[in-house]
Amino acid sequence: MKTGAKILIEGLLKQGTKTLFGYPGGVVLPIYDELFDSGLPHILVRHEQAAAHAADGYARASGNVGVCLATSGPGACNLVTGIATAYMDSIPLVAITGQVPTSLLGNDAFQESDITGITLPITKHNFLVKDVKDLPKVITEAFFLAKTGRPGPVLIDLPKDVCTAESDVETDIGSEPVLRGYKPTYKGHTRQIERAVSTIISSERPVIYAGGGVIASNASAELISLAEKLMIPVTTTLMALGAIPGDHPLNLGMLGMHGTEYANYAITECDCLIAIGARFDDRVTGKVDAFAPHASVIHIDIDPAEIGKNKKVDIPIVGDVKTVLTQILDRLNSEKKYENWNARIRQWKEKHPLIYDNDGKLHPQFVIQTLNSLLSADDIIVSEVGQNQMWTAQYYCFKKPRTWVTSGGLGTMGYGFPASVGAQVAFPGRRVFDIAGDGSIQMNIQELGTVSQYNIPVKIAILNNRFLGMVRQWQELFYNRRYSYTELPPVDFVKVANAYGIEGIRVDDPSCVKQAIKDSIAHEGPFVLDFRIEREENVFPMVPAGAAINEMIGGRPK
């Protein structure tokens, strides 16, 4: 006979869980008691939101399911933003929440909240376990659902009495569960594959538009093969940076609102758009009617609901990106190299590079470029949300998949720092930097306590403009410079770090950037870099909301 708590911990271990990120409380006491000498490491965060983000960062960096744990009521509710963040970016996550005993369910008991109800729209699936006998099956199904098909977060709500009840049910974990209503399609339809191949071959100006699905499917090699075989230029979404090396000659960088001009022009002019694991998000497409208006659209996605959701598709292919790309590559016999098209793109690239002022002031883009020059291909960059995120996306040269960790779909400020904790736990030997804004970092700054306690050596590079910079930029451009509630008073982040026993350094001058970053890398533990950047620097180029993506503003320096 085993208790529910024991079944849970054993189940997690059998599912390959290496670390739990969590925070205790009344109803999860039985689980924490079991954890105490279970051999399953647990990182005590300082806020449950950070547990969810850390598990998410762990999952993005490693490709494995991240697991977080919280108590009922406030603990569970604090996970919500983290779960929603993972949901929007299709990240495999299992969130475990304690719940009041089954006898009290529905009674507004102390610290009761209907977390399965609350997370209904932001989980791939969730479970409320009422009988300990169901627990082994639920754990198996939860992990299976989280990581297969289109990945996503799954929540398991565990009433306290289920954790203490005993059961002798075999923990039949490891076998593939049978779920009648869940049968993802992995292989592309042969006829559709053939149609896609002939459409690509007969086109003159093809472009690949790669999204986070390429990363999720670990299909970076296949993507690059496809691109190189026919010399097809590739633009990636924010989520797919690193799927093709940033300095690859066929790479156009990111597209969309803050994409490169050449990526957006290529989309506008192309006659064949190959969308791979991407979902035509409005930040990517701008005005949808003007997005790839001349193109035959091929859309490869594991989720049939994404196909045709935002943009009319000519050749839908439902399937796993890696499998489908392999199927396409097997059939692709053409010597085409699209020379004219590539020449045209080269011209755009030369004419419209990403640029910023070179005036001796401390520009954030320079910080990112310097960081890029000091790190290696395997090091992991995490970002917060706002200008810091966009500058990183534009100026950091990602060389490999899963080295870029950012909240895309939900755009969650406060994501980066805890996510960097997760990434660092997944890869203790790599360098992990969180690129932050002074606004975002203050949303989960309490995690300095976590990195200090466990000596998790993440480096936090704050691009400190004393503004909620991205919002201020919109106010400058579209609200007549009325900076309504976007100015932040200065914070001495080095002192804050010191208070947690963490070292830091403040940088005001461009000439000190390189040395400061080197010092942070040389330092063994966590480290805070407080870069006092140009306060009103903007992210350019930019597509105003609702405009066509080739109608970009601000590509030139002032």
């Binding site: 399965t116 109800g117 209904l120 729209p121 791939k124 699936h125 409320l128 659902l145 779920l179 009648r180 209503g181 869940y182 049968k183 989720d303 049939p304 609901a305 045709g308 959701k309």
Partner: protein, 167 residues
């Protein structure tokens, strides 16, 4: 935009109905009518939903429904040859002196059953396609409909075809 009849086979588990209906409201769809009950297979329920939307919207809602783990099968049977029925209970003001006879006459024409009578009301039970029930309740409006309860539409394919699981 037109009304679509969706027949949805689901696992009969706690919370499954809120998953289904939650999806409609979240994606901005109004449910015109909803009927749920157990079905030929143990542990399963069938949900019949009528909703209004254009083809692309209905396609999207069906795809999203299919993503729910407990949804086994979703079919839009609007264009298939099918029979649809709804049951309504209608309580009509009907004083013995005045309109009672007329109400009973109308009930007769619609093949509605009188299932309860009081000194001031008559309660009718009627089955049929949505339009028939609309027609009857419209006719009865002049006498004063005190209460109208409809089950929501259920529908079944004609002939040997069925809406069962192929997953």
């Amino acid at each position: 935009m037109k009304a679509h009849t969706l027949s949805i086979l689901v696992e009969n588990r706690a919370g499954v109905l809120s998953r289904v209906t939650g999806l409609f409201s979240r994606r901005g769809f109004n449910i015109e009518s909803l009927a749920v009950g157990t079905c030929e297979e143990e542990g399963m329920s069938r949900v019949t939903i009528v909703c209004i939307g254009d083809d692309a919207q209905i396609e999207q809602v069906m795809k999203q429904l299919n993503k729910l783990v407990e949804v086994i099968k979703v079919s839009d049977i609007t264009e298939n040859y099918h029979v649809e029925r709804e049951l309504a209970l209608i309580k009509v003001a009907a004083d013995p002196g005045s309109s009672r006879a007329e109400v009973m006459q109308i009930a007769d024409i619609f093949r509605a059953n009188v299932i309860d009578v009081s000194s001031k009301t008559i309660t009718l039970e009627v089955t049929g396609p949505t339009q028939k029930i609309d027609a009857l309740s419209n006719l009865l409006a002049q006498y004063g409909v005190k209460e109208l309860i409809r089950t929501g539409k259920i529908a079944i394919l004609r002939g040997t075809k069925t809406v069962i699981s192929t997953k």
